[in-house]
Symmetry: C2
DNA sequence: CAGGTTTCGTATCGATCGATATGGAAGATT
DNA sequence: AATCTTCCATATCGATCGATACGAAACCTG
């Protein structure tokens, strides 16, 4: 998973995976069928073990703005963990791909779209509760937040520290209109 | 250039380049030495022909916030031009790379850092002119803006329309404190 | 028009990719 | 203990990568 995270799908060779896992080629193919299946296994594992912060932040019983704040700040941490590759696997796994790997690129794109949809869903809930007063539409706001997280992923890959990512998250949050209710209650910006 | 832009450095094969340019392998190597040199030529050409909007926006004689507004909005256009690959070559060229292509990945990272530095320079100028009142530091703000542009690049690659990118740009701009002087003079948000 | 030179496309190079066939060691059964 | 079966690491597969050697066609020179 770390190798795919660091180098992306296509640039990670079987030889690298073999050395990292300490397995022989037949062992790999017996266990994972082929490289594509192995990558998909890594994707689901990544989703389960490294991306929990997103669901946690979006489902917390807090005002909408606070939920987004938690989402962005925990992303800042997750994208700059020591000992882990920088950024998000869903972004660096295959932003650009050869025609043969288009299926993989499409799958990663679907993961990114799903993240944006989850954000939009949370925003829609907030909007229905009168928690998200004026400003851009839910879809536009979700695209902005998802986009900022993608941007944080690239900044992390370029060496941004956790503190720098936190600042970026805080700055991004300033674009969101303040809550009408619970204003400043649980936020300590 | 379009092939590298669409598929990235490593995933673009000599066979694709050969077909696109209508050249035979020796012609390519006579003209460009090797694949790496060809890619660097494409990079400089991209910088000259597709990224002019950035320098134009940052050097325009307008208030700081208006300059950033123009930067983000023109990026929204540039990243979603019909007939061109989505996003920015500096991002999709090689976000993740194999160890052999690390030099290319580092060079692209340097381009991204230079963009951020250019933004920081413009912000510093504005700050010195009292044009950028309170809020985060110049470096933090520059990292935010550059990060948002990187995020827009990914959203564009995922199929976001020019209008959706414009909305994202406008939303991102809301995070910037309003100018103390010339407030709303040249901005039509 | 003949000879010599240059140019350029084809065919192929060694290396590496993802994936697999094969020979030999380990363990089970009679 | 001898034989047979099972399992697994090495060696290798065809395909493709980036890059180049070589032979034929074109062109200039005498």
């Amino acid at each position: 998973m770390h190798l795919f995270w660091e180098h992306g799908y296509e640039a990670t060779s079987l030889a690298m995976l073999r050395e990292a896992m300490g397995l022989t080629p037949p062992q790999i193919y017996n266990a994972f069928t082929d490289k594509e299946t192995l990558f998909r296994k890594a994707l689901t594992r990544y989703h389960e073990t490294e991306i929990g912060f997103a669901l946690e932040a979006l489902s917390a019983p807090v005002p909408t703005r606070e939920a987004i704040r938690r989402l962005l700040l925990s992303a800042a941490e997750a994208y700059s963990r020591p000992g882990k590759p920088g950024g998000c696997l869903f972004v660096s796994g295959a932003l650009a791909a050869s025609p043969q790997a288009q299926a993989i690129a499409d799958e990663l794109k679907a993961y990114r779209k799903a993240s944006e949809a989850a954000i939009a869903e949370r925003l829609a809930k907030g909007s229905a509760m009168g928690d998200l007063p004026e400003g851009p539409s839910v879809e536009g706001l979700a695209k902005y937040i998802a986009g900022v997280m993608n941007g944080m992923s690239i900044q992390a890959r370029d060496g941004a520290s956790a503190e720098e990512l936190r600042i970026m998250a805080q700055t991004a949050l300033a674009a969101l209109p303040a809550d009408r209710q619970n204003r400043g209650a649980s936020s300590k910006e």
